[in-house]
């Protein structure tokens, strides 16, 4: 029966495939009368068992193996894994090597955020079905977005050896560090990227945003003296402030039948990681110029509207461009590309800010440096329960919307999170059902 012909309480909405997300999944929403009875983000991309096949491999292989988990955020996997293994071995990568890692990560933030802002998320706000229609109407805007993204990719190629699945990162540092002259070649491109990123902030801040302001528990890293990217303590807006090594004492993963990705909770409750959490918990760590810009475009120090995450991503992209310029201008070639590394039986944990939120790794190795246990908690699996909560609240508050608009808004609600289902499992179908 067509929806219009049904009584309102039996309205059914189904979408075969949710596009513009990374990976394979589906959404099911069941509404009884005016009550949202069930919301499920089904993830049926097969589990990838990375944690299992890391066992028995050398610690030195871990950064390169885990980088294969994601083609969009391989640097995050390399950084969290290195940090965990370095913690186990008692190593601390500091100085220019640490700065180079942050620079590499800036490249990933630029390319990943730009892809999501322009090609996955922006069409929703402008009423386009995809980025093709956007490019037909606004080709110059899309060309400039591609230029911005390419600059991030080039930074990853320069430091990581290649842009997809970089191969230059190792436990203790890098296999090779760049010459000053090599990095300087990026300056002009990054200056242009900064201009495009600034345009992006002003443009996306002028979009129309649906109303939704859940009472989130935000979780992010807090990095000493800097907006968090590489490392730090894990903090929340509810008073949590713990070292990374204590992650598993506070955060728990559970298997739910409808998902191949584990659901994570903080003391039994859903929580949010990613740009919105980072921004709200670290606004004061942004440079003063970016704080002023955020206020100027109407964002302010706290933003609870998940649809406005597109503005936060744009600000973070601009931050990454500025941070990359700063690091390159201050760069001095280190004496050695890495610290000496001697394996030993030990356990260590690491956490860094992937574009989509905190990425936790823990490894245990034996005296020969062979991995005996591995644990990886990616941001999308941490956000799954929170995505379901957002959908529940949004659908409950907007049952009066016509079916096509409600469906689009549900998809958009999921895309607010830039979910990387491939990471979480190691596609998305939407189904909303109303019944009496």
């Amino acid at each position: 029966m067509d929806d219009a012909a049904k009584p309102r309480h039996t309205r059914t909405i189904r979408v075969g495939n949710l596009a513009r997300v990374e990976g394979e999944g589906a959404l099911y929403v069941r509404v009884k009368g005016s009550r949202v009875e069930e919301v499920r983000l089904d993830i049926f991309e097969p589990p990838r068992f990375f944690e299992a096949f890391l066992r028995g491999r050398s610690f030195a292989e871990v950064p390169d193996i885990t980088a294969r988990i994601c083609g969009i955020c391989p640097v995050a996997y390399q950084m969290s894994s290195c940090q965990a293994l370095e913690a186990a071995l008692g190593l601390e990568v500091e100085g220019q090597l640490k700065a180079l890692r942050r620079l590499l990560y800036c490249g990933e933030w630029i390319e990943s955020h730009t892809l999501h802002i322009y090609f996955l998320h922006l069409p929703d706000f402008l009423g386009y079905p995809d980025s093709v229609r956007l490019a037909q109407d606004q080709p110059e805007r899309v060309r400039r977005a591609l230029q911005l993204k390419k600059t991030g990719n080039e930074l990853m190629t320069l430091l990581g050896g290649r842009e997809i699945h970089p191969v230059n990162v190792k436990v203790g540092g890098f296999y090779r560090v760049p010459r000053k002259a090599e990095l300087k070649t990026m300056l002009a491109k990054l200056e242009q990227a900064r201009e495009i990123a600034l345009e992006t902030v002003r443009f996306v801040a002028g979009l129309d945003f649906p109303d939704l302001e859940p009472d989130y528990t935000f979780v992010s890293l807090s990095e000493e003296g800097a907006y968090p990217i590489l490392q730090g303590r894990i903090v929340s807006n509810r008073g949590l402030d713990i070292p990374v090594a204590d992650f598993e004492r506070h955060f728990h993963e559970e298997h739910v039948p409808h998902s191949n990705a584990l659901h994570a909770t903080l003391q039994g409750q859903p929580y949010l990681v990613g740009p919105l959490a980072r921004y709200n918990l670290n606004f004061d760590r942004l440079p003063a110029s970016l704080q002023s810009l955020a206020r100027e475009v109407g964002l302010g120090p706290v933003c609870r509207n998940p649809f406005k995450s597109i503005v936060v991503r744009a600000i973070e992209t601009l931050y990454a461009c500025e941070e990359a310029l700063r690091i390159i201008q201050a760069y001095e070639e280190p004496d050695a590309p890495s610290l000496p590394v001697v394996p030993k039986a030990a356990t260590g944990a690491g956490c860094s800010e992937a574009p989509r939120g905190i990425l936790y790794h823990r490894y245990q190795m034996d005296e020969k440096g062979l991995i005996t246990e591995a644990k990886i908690v990616p941001p999308t699996s941490q956000n799954q329960k929170r995505i379901e909560e957002d959908l529940r609240q949004f659908v409950a508050a907007h049952l009066e919307l016509p079916k096509p608009e409600l469906t689009l808004r549900c998809e958009q609600t999921i895309r607010n999170y830039d979910p990387c289902i491939s990471c979480a499992t190691h596609f998305l179908r939407l189904e909303i059902e109303h019944e009496t």
Binding site: R48, G71, F119, L120, V132, A135, V142, L146, K149
Partner: protein, 160 residues
């Protein structure tokens, strides 16, 4: 000018690896190949400036594994088979139409889609896919110096 060969796919997802698998062998044979991987926005850069482009990708349409689909990008978008199974953030159709909107779609663009079966974790494409890939490699090698003369393979399952 030689046609530009571009390959798509993730080298660690079994039959999705057919693009990178072909790229590696063509490169070993001394041919220039642009590997796009699984971030299809990079395909736009790869297509820009080429007079003729040959794009190699794994597809799933329900045909037997190893079936070779050969399609020329015309005035209309490609059939939906090239959007159905993409583990990429934007799919091949969308990328080609983006290229058209941005004015970088080469005058002639051919898509070589090899039907896949397995898309789990693993580096080697399945035997049927490898067999089709080897035939396509021989054909590309034989025809690479002849723009306008796209490879026709001997798999006997060509679609156009």
């Amino acid at each position: 000018m030689k046609p530009k060969v571009l390959t798509l796919g993730n080298p660690y997802r079994q039959d999705d690896a057919v693009g990178p698998w072909i790229a590696q062998r063509l490169r070993q044979a001394g041919l220039e190949v642009c590997e796009v991987g699984d971030d299809l926005t990079r395909l736009l850069d790869g297509l820009a400036g080429a007079d003729e482009a040959w794009v190699v990708e794994a597809v799933v349409s329900g045909q037997p594994p190893g079936t070779l689909h050969v399609l020329e990008v015309g005035a209309a978008p490609l059939p939906a088979v090239f959007e159905r199974l993409s583990s990429h953030t934007i799919h091949l159709n969308e990328t080609l139409e983006l290229a058209r909107s941005l004015g970088v779609l080469p005058p002639r663009t051919l898509i070589y889609g090899i039907e896949g079966r397995l898309f789990g974790s693993g580096e080697e494409p399945s035997p049927e896919v490898r067999q089709a890939a080897e035939a396509l490699i021989r054909s590309i090698q034989a025809r690479q110096g002849h723009p306008g003369n796209a490879p026709v393979t001997d798999t006997g399952q060509r679609k156009g």
